[in-house]
């Protein structure tokens, strides 16, 4: 009973928050949907970076490929949103597998640089094959009706509900995976690849598997992002997208999934508010936030209650 409450409690909280956001920001559902899409993307990054310890600054490669795949599929084959999601996830997984075959042989700074290089290559390819991707003009498309019945509306109400449902499914699935033997192995690799090899784990192939699985999630986020805006342009491969995802994860706290959720909400809210208040200097606020978190709560906002508990315990 307690375990069920422990498992379902956070879900109830998430659903309540999603419903509250729907009613609190009826004219800003487009933005809220963007936050939900970003949460899925950062969850994928958390699996790679926070759980398995793979350093990357090229996660946008997986997101962008999923976005383009879904848009091209919608244009050429079928506009069904769910099929588009599946295609986006498949494309994200495929590009993660192919690039992972050589990325996972590197580590540290080399890996960071190579991950950026992969994104740049894909961005160039998307630009070069403009007949398919729309090049610098982007590729606009119209997502079909959900389940062949529910049309996406101008105010983004259905888009928001759809994105929240996808997020809940992804979040639940990731919680299962992280608690599984596969997840424990990924944590073990992050802690000590040498020890994992010494217990017989094929570390390289396991890292490729983690990266491929995360690629599917990032690709799915890309597809969802494309469907929610009905447009894909070259900015899906922006370095900024990868870098901001890392910052969101650091703000929230790595390796525990919830950190990805909290970090994304905080980052994007602060970004939105700060950019509205001062369109030229909003980056100062983001920088200050990151500095504050890194220096005051190195474990991220998720580590805040534990830190407060320690401090108050120490004061007694």
């Amino acid at each position: 009973m307690m375990r069920a409450l422990f498992t379902l409690g956070p879900y109830a909280g998430l659903i309540a928050a999603a419903i509250a956001a729907y009613y609190l920001f009826p004219s800003n559902l487009g933005f809220v949907t963007t936050v939900v899409v970003a949460m899925i993307f950062v969850l994928s990054l958390d699996l790679v970076m926070g759980v398995a310890g793979i350093s990357t600054l090229g996660h946008a490669a997986l997101y962008g490929t999923g976005a383009y795949a879904a848009a091209i599929f919608a244009t050429l084959v079928s506009a069904d949103p769910l099929l588009g999601l599946a295609v986006g996830a498949g494309a994200g997984a495929a590009i993660a597998f192919v690039s992972g075959l050589f990325l996972m042989r590197a580590q540290g700074l080399t890996l960071l640089m190579l991950s950026i290089a992969v994104t740049e290559v894909l961005s160039s390819l998307a630009n070069k094959y403009s007949g398919l991707t729309g090049g610098a003009d982007g590729l606009s498309f119209t997502p079909g009706a959900l389940f062949g019945r529910f049309e996406f509306d101008f105010y983004g109400q259905l888009g928001y509900i759809y994105a929240v449902c996808v997020f809940l499914v992804v979040f639940g699935m990731l919680r299962i995976v992280v608690a599984s033997p596969f997840g424990l192995t990924a944590r073990g690799i992050k802690e000590s690849p040498a020890r994992m090899r010494a217990i017989g784990t094929p570390v390289y192939w396991r890292l490729v598997s983690v990266y491929t699985f995360a690629g599917a999630i990032a690709g799915l986020a890309g597809a969802l992002g494309a469907q929610s805006t009905a447009l894909v342009s070259l900015n899906v491969y922006d370095f900024q997208r990868s870098a901001e995802a890392v910052i969101m994860l650091i703000i929230g706290g790595t390796g525990r999934l919830w950190g990805a959720v909290i970090g994304t909400i905080v980052f994007m809210t602060v970004h939105q508010v700060a950019a509205s208040a001062d369109p030229f200097n909003w980056l100062f606020v983001i920088g200050a936030l990151v500095l504050a978190v890194v220096y005051i709560v190195p474990a991220g906002l998720l580590g805040l209650p534990e830190m407060v508990k320690k401090l108050t315990g120490g004061a007694r």
């Binding site: 599984s180 802690e191 017989g200």
Partner: protein, 248 residues
């Protein structure tokens, strides 16, 4: 032929020869120690056996099967396991989680993405048995970096044993362990399964003479001599080169 057979093993890095024509047998139940001064090539030799390093030439066979081309992970699956000279554990995981990983790996379950890692009662029972065997039952839920160093060495040994190896290489199991905790290590080695072949690399001569039936002396990458503890302690060359005047 049962056990580990190493024949004419050589390893060099450019002009630097670190293993020179090493031939060694480890039969089931053997308790052998590999000793030698710092830089003799002991850890290099274990790295060659476990597949961390590839030999320049020579043969490594396990039960007659050539394992020289197998990866490190494949050699573990074949039955060769080692502990590290410097304790290498999953420091932010609990003792139970540290033991769970090799058990999951041995059972081929680590690729499973559905179902909790701690859901298998048989596997959990095996963890409890290992905790009891190494007197760690009280520390199952503690993170390993909270344990005393001697206990961390025991966790490492328990993890290795969880793989049910046939060849166990203990690379300086007592290194860094305070003398007060040293009996924990020697007792644990004494309690290892009788049919397990053990090769122990160690500088603590008291421990070596206590647990090893045969001692191999390695100097400058080559075997100088091999014999019983009595023969080795009586060997003038070994005394000069390694044991020195301290050992009586």
């Amino acid at each position: 032929m049962k056990g580990l057979q190493v024949r004419n093993l050589n390893k060099s890095f450019g002009g630097l020869v670190v293993a020179r024509d090493i031939t060694l047998d480890l039969a089931p139940g053997d308790r052998k120690a590999l000793i030698g001064p710092n830089g003799a090539g002991k850890s290099t030799f274990t790295n060659l056996i476990t597949g961390i390093l590839a030999p320049t030439s020579g043969e490594i066979r396990l039960d007659g099967r050539d394992i020289g081309r197998l990866s490190e992970a494949q050699r573990v699956k074949a039955g060769i396991a080692k502990t590290f000279q410097i304790t290498t554990l999953f420091r932010s995981l609990t003792v139970r989680e540290n033991l769970r990983l090799p058990l999951l790996e041995r059972r081929g379950l680590t690729a499973r993405m559905i179902g909790r890692a701690d859901a298998d009662p048989a596997l959990e029972a095996e963890i409890e048995a290992l905790l009891a065997q190494f007197k760690l039952s009280a520390f199952g839920d503690a993170k390993v970096d909270r344990l005393a160093y001697g206990q961390q060495r025991l966790v490492e040994m328990a993890m290795t044993l969880a793989l049910r190896p046939r060849i166990l290489i203990l690379d300086e199991p007592a290194a860094g362990v305070p003398s007060s905790e040293s009996p924990l290590i020697s007792d644990a080695i004494a309690a290892l399964p009788k049919d397990l072949s053990v090769l122990i690399i160690e500088h603590d001569m008291n421990l070596v003479f206590k647990v090893a039936a045969k001692i191999i002396v390695l100097v400058a990458g080559a075997i100088l001599t091999e014999g019983s503890p009595q023969e080795i302690s009586a060997d003038a060359r070994v005394r000069d080169l390694y044991l020195g005047a301290h050992h009586d």
